[in-house]
Symmetry: C2
Subunit: 221 residues, 2 copies
Amino acid sequence: MARMFHVPLSPFCRKVRLSLAEKKIGVDLVEEKYWEADADFLRRNPAAKVPVLQLDGITMSESGPICEYLEETRPEPSLLPKDPVARLEVRRLVNWFDDKFHNEVTSKLLYERVNKKMMGQGYPDSKNVKAGAKAIKYHLDYMTWLLDHRRWLAGDQMTLADFAAAAHLSSLDYISDVDWNRSAVVKDWYAKIKSRPAFRNILADQVPGFPPPRHYNDLDF
Amino acid sequence: MARMFHVPLSPFCRKVRLSLAEKKIGVDLVEEKYWEADADFLRRNPAAKVPVLQLDGITMSESGPICEYLEETRPEPSLLPKDPVARLEVRRLVNWFDDKFHNEVTSKLLYERVNKKMMGQGYPDSKNVKAGAKAIKYHLDYMTWLLDHRRWLAGDQMTLADFAAAAHLSSLDYISDVDWNRSAVVKDWYAKIKSRPAFRNILADQVPGFPPPRHYNDLDF
C-alpha cells in the first residue's frame, strides 16, 4: 500500500492521486500542513512541498517526476504515449498547467481564497483574485481551441495532460471559480474525466471551513 | 541544423544549450525578446516563453520536455540513467533548481538585476535581492551535502540535474552572485562542468550593458 502526504485541494497532489487511481495503486492519504515545515516532513522532502509519495520503499517528491516514475514502473494503463513527439506535447501541456496556469490562475484564486486562510495569512488580495478570474477565461479559450482539434488535450488518448488540467480545474471548481458555461467542449471534456472511477476520491474531498458547492461532485453539473 | 530562440542568461535556455552541445547537435541561436510577445513568437509558443527549439521539423517549447525529447531521440551520450529510481532523483533535482532555486534565487537576483533593466521595468527591489542573496547560501549548502555523498548531483554519473544546476549558477556567476568560496566541493563540481566542451558557448556569452566579471569564463576561477 502506498502512502501519500498531501493537501486535498493541491492540484499537484490531485494529479498524482488521479495517476495512482487510474493505475489502480491503492494509497493511504495523510494530510500534511507542509507550510509548517516540521522536521519529520523536511526529512521526507527538504523542498517542503506536497505531494510526498511513499511507494516501492522509496520516498518521492515532485509531482512531475512521480508521474513519470509511475509510468515507467506501471506502464498500464498508459498515460503517456510511446511516440517522442506525442510525449513532448503531453509534457508541454502538463507544464502549461503546472507552471503557467498555476502562476496565472491557481495561485491567484485558490491560494488567495483558501490557502491564505488555512495558513493564517489573512484575507485574499482582490487585485490577485481579479487577475486570476480574468486569466482563467484565456486558459479556457486555449483549452477550447485544443479540444476543437483533438479528443483529449494532447491528442486522441487521455494522458497526464488531461489529469494536470483536471487537477487544477477541479480544485478551482471546489470554490466555484470555473465558469463551465464559457465553453461546451471544455465542459464535455470535464464531464468525461469527472465520470471516471479514478475521479471519485477527488469528488469526495471535504475541506473544513470550505464546503463545496452542490455542483462540485454532480456528474451532470 | 537546429534553431533556438533564446536569451543568453536564461537558465532554462542554458540547460537546453548544454544538452544540445553534449549531444553534439548544432544549433543556430536567435535572441528573442519574449517579453514583447510579438505575434510571430506567440505562434511558435503561446506560453510566450523561451527556449523555443526547432528541430526534426517540430517547434518545441518548455525546457524540461525538450530535454526529455532529446534524451529519447538522441540517447547517447546519456544524461538520464536507465533505472527508474535513479531517473526519479535526476528529475527531482532538475525540478529543485528549475522551480525552488528559480523562485528563491534566480528570480530574486538575476531577474531583479538584469531582466528588469532589459525589459524596461525599472530598478532592482533591494528586498528581493537581499532574500535571493540569503537563499543561495542555503542552496549551496544543500549542493554541498549532495556532493559530499555523490560524484555528481544525482549520483555517480553526470546528468540533466547537473546541467540544470550549472545553468542557474552560471547565469548568476555572470553577475558575480555566486560565492565560490562557500564550498570547496561545489567549486570543484562547477570547475568540472565548466571545463566541458559543451560549456564553451555559455562562457562566450556577452550581454550588452552587463559585461561579465573576469572570473566568469576563467576555468581556474
